[in-house]
Amino acid sequence: MTALLPWLVAAWLLGIGLYGIVTSSNYIHLIGCLNVVQSATYVILLCVGYRWNAGPPIFDPQPPGTPAVDPVVQALVLTDIVIGATVSALLLALAVQLHKRKGTLDPEALRPMR
């Protein structure tokens, strides 16, 4: 069970985030839910690179050669975090402007031009 836990948590985050997006009635709330979907990818990637009884991939006190976890996935997650934050900023800017024009943030009350 423990071995499955990381993957199940990632799947849970993905599912619950999507549920939030599907049911959201406020764009700002929806953007928060999008961040939950994204955190699933952090969990997957970092858990993939984890290794029991290994240190961080930074050989500062310990000498190179000591067992360390995978640095590649960590670099990928760093990239991912920056992407997530900036896309959130962009989405928030869209939501703020939309609110200025339509006075609401409820997706049901707003519809693009037909």
Binding site: I58, Q74, A75
Partner: protein, 251 residues
């Protein structure tokens, strides 16, 4: 679709996907004890090849530097988009006085807050700088340091008055910082081409292992990333704050 129909569709889909997810999870390699050939190769070759101890920085700025280059420009895209969207019809003019929120007093800041801010702000900035500079040795680097510095600038906003802060935080400067960081990154990548090396190839002197300035080209790339991240996040904060300060007139 009505809300119920949508939820029903979603529920049915999740019911189908759940067993598929479990099957995939059961077939995943064992957590924490499977092979990691790529990561191990990095861990075993980089300290000797690049004289640095932070493998994550090595992957970000050297081995997979192209990813970071793309990501930096993605940041530029997102920030540019945010700025264009928020400025919109407001334009880039400085407002001469801090507009205040409708129906709310602009309470004067307490001395304690100003003092804390003035003490904390520079300390946060210094800490950010430290984080940027030690990218190749200890955890941290251009990303983290850039974000820390930009939030330090935000802290200064809390304690200084609006005009001083706005004088200090010019959109033009931040634009230049962001775009300039990105530009330095590309040029740092292209410079080795002049010496017959590959794009982003690290042909600079590498320095001593665990030295603050070890890693050669990585130092430049790291500084460029710090500039771009700092400028980008500060611009986003600035434009969002401007947004709160300007109540719209009646339509």
């Amino acid at each position: 679709m009505t809300r119920t129909a949508r939820l029903l569709l979603f529920a049915v889909a999740v019911l189908v996907l759940a067993p598929a997810g479990v099957v995939v999870a059961m077939n995943m390699p064992a957590f924490g004890s499977h092979e990691l050939p790529y990561g191990d190769a990095v861990n075993s070759t980089i300290p000797a090849a690049r004289h640095i101890s932070n493998m994550v920085s090595a992957v970000n700025f050297d081995v997979r530097g192209l990813d970071t280059l793309g990501e930096e420009f993605m940041l530029v895209c997102a920030v540019t988009g945010t700025v264009v969207l928020l400025r919109g019809e407001r334009g880039e003019k400085l407002t001469s006085h801090p507009a205040q929120m409708r129906g709310r007093l602009n309470a004067p800041r307490s001395d304690a807050l100003v003092l804390t801010g003035r003490l904390m702000g520079p300390m946060v900035l210094l800490f950010g700088l430290y984080v940027v500079l030690h990218a190749t040795v200890t955890p941290g680097g251009g990303f983290q340091g850039g974000v820390v510095i930009s939030s330090g600038l935000l802290l200064l906003y809390l304690c200084e008055d609006y005009q001083t802060w706005r004088w200090f935080m010019r959109a033009g400067w931040l634009d230049a910082c962001e775009g300039g960081g990105a530009l330095i990154f590309v040029l740092a990548g292209a410079a080795p081409l002049c010496f017959g090396a590959h794009f982003l190839q690290n042909i600079m002197p590498l320095g001593k292992f665990r030295d603050m300035l070890s890693g050669g080209l990585m130092q430049i790339v790291n500084a460029a990333v710090a500039c771009a991240v700092l400028g980008g996040f500060a611009l986003v904060f600035l434009e969002f704050l401007e947004e709160t300060r300007e109540p719209r007139g009646d339509p």
